[in-house]
């Protein structure tokens, strides 16, 4: 099936009444949780997974993906009106977005964020549609050594990009690998690290881990910070939300920059939409004729990062759908959702289950239109969510989290693990350990171990199989280069000597 006929098939699936409804529900929920500071798409997708158990996988993944990209649309709203990002990826939007709002241009700022998100989000999906088939075809030649090398390279990039502190990022990743080892070994039926607990024989439930590390810890951090909400006013009327022609003209390069930068960075494991928005902002400022105006409320300073964090979605879904390798926490949870429904993401997904692959891709085109409509005229309605008191909101989220953890595990042990992982996630945040590598280590650990053991079994225990095959050798060399790059950079800086102006002793 070529791209055009694949997309035609996909639109047939996505425009069916049920899937259209799930797309709308996902975009709506995504916008809502994007607006609520402290609750991210990863936590929401994890919490809602049990609800999707009885759903058709196509409808389920369309809804969960809608939450994923919808949250990025919603995240900008609080950045512009409150200077409080609803999502980490909208942090940089606070700079020019909030300044525009303070100058009485809140409406056009929201309009630019929505239009830029729409343009870049759509470009990201177009790139996903056309790049996925050749990548999947190439990946069909992969065997266990190549998969192991690819996962190792992906995790190396996560180590490099996911946190400020490489040692803590590595430890977080390794902790994830250990947690996924708990349970029964699939090759030999040997129980590992179960501490005599029968409930651990099947391993740790992913939902308890994901909900605990993201949702519960985020609630604890929000309670600790005691955030207060002071909204800037939004002008009434659809016309007042539209940017002027000059503003749109000023943003034309920002739309393109956000689309391309966001997509490329989205493909990289561990980088994520926060980095893509910062890079797009940096590029925009670097090429601007008036970089000194950035931060004072220039529309392109808002359009570039908002575009990038939406184009990132298409890029981030590319390795998940074609290779079965997620690059971030949200995509890791989306992949787990597919696995729970019995769908195997990877190079065969688009040929064996075209409804799911092409249906999802087509639904993202539809979703971007739905979100544009939702985020312009209905923005005033969505901001009312910020008026829900936290003493009501937090218990609701915790109640839903408990129901979600119990729904998956079917016992209270899963709820106990949820609480334990909530404390772990909170502690990690306080001590500067990034949470995403833990989740990625947990999701990829099992496949990585299987690929490595299968490779060594194929070669009768000879590890040279990993470097004897060209693709695997190249990927392992890249992994080594990525891991050594901070060390090489440090050595180069040392050779150059201290920077001028800095004290030497």
């Amino acid at each position: 099936m070529d791209v055009i006929s694949g997309l035609a098939h996909g639109f047939g699936v996505a425009l069916g009444p049920a899937n259209l409804m799930w797309c709308f529900v996902g975009c709506f929920l995504g916008t809502v949780i994007g607006i609520i500071p402290g609750l991210g798409p990863a936590a929401t997708i994890a919490i809602l997974l049990p609800v999707t158990y009885n759903m058709d996988p196509t409808g389920g993944i369309i809804m969960l993906c809608g939450i994923y990209y919808g949250a990025k649309y919603g995240g900008s709203t609080t950045s512009i009106l409150l200077k409080m990002p609803g999502e980490a990826s909208s942090v940089i939007s606070c700079m020019d977005g909030y300044e525009m709002a303070r100058k009485g241009r809140a409406g056009p700022a929201l309009g630019i964020a929505a239009i830029s998100s729409f343009v870049a989000g759509t470009v990201g999906v177009v790139l996903l549609s056309f790049l996925a088939p050749p990548i999947a075809e190439f990946a069909l030649s992969f065997s266990s050594p190549e998969y192991f090398a690819l996962m190792l390279m992906g995790l190396s990039l996560v180590v490099l990009l996911a946190g400020d502190d490489i040692v803590k990022t590595v430890l977080s990743l390794l902790l994830g690998l250990w947690l996924t080892s708990i349970g029964t070994d699939l090759f030999t039926a040997q129980t590992r690290f179960t501490f005599g607990q029968i409930s651990l024989l099947d391993g740790i439930d992913f939902m308890s881990l994901a909900i605990g590390v993201f949702a519960i810890s985020e609630i604890m951090l929000s309670i600790e910070a005691r955030e207060r909400v002071r909204l800037l006013t939004i002008p009434k009327g659809f016309k007042n939300l539209l940017p002027s022609l000059e503003e749109l003209k000023a943003c034309r390069f920002a739309f393109l920059n956000g689309s391309i930068t966001g997509f490329i960075i989205g493909v990289l494991p561990g980088a994520g939409s926060t980095i893509s928005s910062f890079v797009a902002y940096g590029v925009e400022k670097a090429v601007s004729r008036h970089p000194e105006r950035f931060g004072t409320g220039v529309p392109e300073g808002l359009a570039a990062p908002e575009g990038a964090n939406n184009a990132d979605t298409g890029g981030a879904l590319l390795p998940v759908l074609t290779l079965g390798i997620p690059g971030g926490s949200s995509t890791a949870i989306l992949m787990s959702a597919l696995v729970l429904w019995g769908v195997r993401p990877g190079p065969l997904l688009m040929t064996q289950q075209p409804d799911i692959f092409w249906g999802l891709v087509a639904s993202m085109y539809v979703g971007n239109v739905v979100l544009l409509i939702m985020n312009l005229p209905l923005i005033g309605l969505f901001t009312q969510i910020l008026r829900v008191p936290l003493y009501v909101l937090f218990p609701i989220i915790m109640g839903v989290a408990i129901a979600g953890a119990y729904g998956v595990s079917g016992n209270m042990f899963g709820v106990g693990l949820l609480a334990a992982f909530g404390l772990l996630g909170y502690g990690m945040q306080k001590l500067g350990f990034p949470a995403a590598p833990l989740i990625l280590g947990f999701v990829l650990g099992d496949s990585m171990e299987r690929a490595l053991r299968q490779s060594l079994t194929m070669s009768n225990g000879d590890p040279s199989i990993l470097v004897a095959r060209p693709i695997s050798a190249v990927l392992l060399a890249l992994a080594a280069l990525i891991l050594l790059s901070p060390l090489l950079r440090r050595l180069r800086n040392r050779q150059r000597g201290p920077a001028p102006g800095l004290p030497t002793a």
Partner: protein, 166 residues
């Protein structure tokens, strides 16, 4: 202050992770590492624990050497009292977690609605210091609302108590 706390955190987390890696290695050595059929169940854990041990010891030593100059220069602005919101932020967060932990046995005994009501009431009354009436009404609404949503409308099973009730 915060940098010193982080350094102490590095020491404690480094120590805990070093002990964990020693445990992983010792447990893995008791299983087959390389057998006739290829790598055994102990093979992969030994590999990652062998990376985890030096990394955690590095963190431990780094923490013991004290706060790093770069972090010390950045962090004073978000120091203790400010970061803790109104002074009791951390206690409030930990109290909320404790309430969640206590909810697990409560739900096992009395079911979802009772446990959810207790947790919501604690958050509203103790953490957010709402009035008794507001706390009771919001908690009852949340517990019943979630029960209707999951058990009745979505047909998702909720914890049932030993003494009866959902």
């Amino acid at each position: 202050m915060l940098s010193q706390k982080l350094a102490l955190g590095d020491v404690l987390s480094g120590l805990a992770l070093a002990l964990l890696s020693v445990y992983i290695i010792s447990a893995s050595l008791s299983w087959s590492v390389i057998g006739e059929m290829g790598p055994g169940p102990g093979f992969f854990p030994i590999l990652y624990a062998a990376v985890m041990l030096p990394a955690s010891l590095w963190l431990l030593v780094r923490g013991m050497r004290g706060p790093r100059p770069a972090t010390a220069a950045v962090e004073p602005a978000e120091d203790d009292a400010e970061a803790d919101g109104e002074g009791g932020g951390t206690q409030a967060a930990l109290a909320t977690w404790l309430a969640l932990a206590v909810t697990v046995p409560v739900m096992s005994l009395a079911g979802f609605v009772a446990g959810c009501f207790g947790l919501s009431f604690f958050v509203a009354k103790v953490v957010f210091r709402r009035s008794l009436l507001a706390s009771t009404l919001s908690s009852a609404g949340i517990a019943l609302g979630l029960y209707v949503l999951f058990q009745v409308l979505l047909d998702v099973d909720l914890p049932a108590g030993l003494i009866g009730g959902r």
